[in-house]
Amino acid sequence: MNRYDCEAIRDLLAPLVRGEMLPHESASAQLHLDDCAACRTEAEIVRVLQESFAPVPDGLESRVVAAVRRRSLMRGRPARLALAATLAAAVIGGSLVFDRADRDSVSDMDAVSWAAAQDPLLHGRSALPELTVEELEVLLEEFDR
């Protein structure tokens, strides 16, 4: 049975604690957690976060459904043509923003890949959990740049 290292385990904690991993993967993860206090601590944080899931308030679903239904019916009325035109303009503007965001995202990733390749400290995804907060912040700045 393969044993996970800290890097692999920490990336898997959320699906692991949610019970969404295959049984043999869970068993391998268990082997690591039995021996690693740091990963157990992080697993506990993830577990507590999942336990504190905010419940959806009573009545919210019917409120939202009613609003969606009202708005959907309004859209078919001729008196709403002006609003529809405004929405169309917003949609076009929104699409442009999304397009730009997509392009930014790609170039952002390229920049970070380059930065990671240049800097042994930040080299490779497998090193992430081993970095300090300061080092992670440096890496994040590269992503945000």
Binding site: A14, V17, G19, T41, A43, V64, L140
Partner: protein, 206 residues
């Protein structure tokens, strides 16, 4: 710190094995059914729209609550998000999943609601003060309330992107790619934000 009592996976039920190494393997039938539902919703089918609300309301509400730190405002934001998304379905191009696209709209709606209400600082979501009266949450009762509040408080102190990355992954089970779509950042940045958030939580809870 009390958080180290975790006996790994004991007591955690193994459900449908749909995830391996943290990567969701979407069920083909589910994907087809969702595509059909979205197409119906796009053409104005009200019943289809209502189904989408029921399916995604928990994710949308919890994400808005994480941004705003206020359940009442999060309800407003959730409503705005669904109205905006379902009336702008033509903008959804299928590059990302519908959930990712919807969560991005929910985050924007939450920020708008926050601005309208003059909330300059995003705060923690302390569930203990806000649970619906007379309906105790069984999951919540299963853990030590003090631990939950400590973690919630610490989470509320993180920068927004780190808080959302941790909440979206740990609580809502999103992949890094989905988080990247929701936060409008690269997948690498989503990953770093998550790890940084978890690291800071560990420090805060030490």
């Amino acid at each position: 710190m009390g958080l180290c009592r975790f006996n790994a996976l004991s007591g955690l039920g193994i459900h449908s094995p749909v995830i391996s190494r943290g990567i969701t393997r979407p069920d083909a039938d589910h994907a087809r059914a969702e595509a059909t539902l979205l197409e119906r919703a796009r053409t104005g089918d009200i019943e289809a729209r209502e189904q989408l609300v029921r399916r995604y309301l928990p994710d949308v509400f919890r994400t808005a609550a994480r941004v705003l730190g206020d359940r009442d405002l999060a309800e407003d934001a959730a409503q705005d998000a669904f109205v905006n998304a379902l009336n702008g379905l033509s903008r959804f191009r299928g590059d990302a999943s519908f959930r990712t696209w919807l969560l991005r709209i929910a985050i924007n709606a939450a920020r708008s609601v926050g601005r309208r209400n003059g909330r300059r600082r995003e705060v923690s979501l302390v569930l203990a003060d806000n649970e619906p009266s007379g309906r105790p949450d069984p999951a919540r009762q299963a853990v030590n309330a003090t631990e939950v509040e400590r973690v919630e408080h610490a989470l509320g102190g993180l920068p927004t992107k780190q808080r959302l990355a941790v909440a979206l992954r740990a609580q809502q089970g999103l992949s890094y790619a989905e988080i990247a779509g929701a936060l409008k950042c690269s997948e690498g940045a989503a990953r770093v934000n998550y790890h940084l958030g978890i690291k800071r939580l560990r420090e805060l809870l030490r």
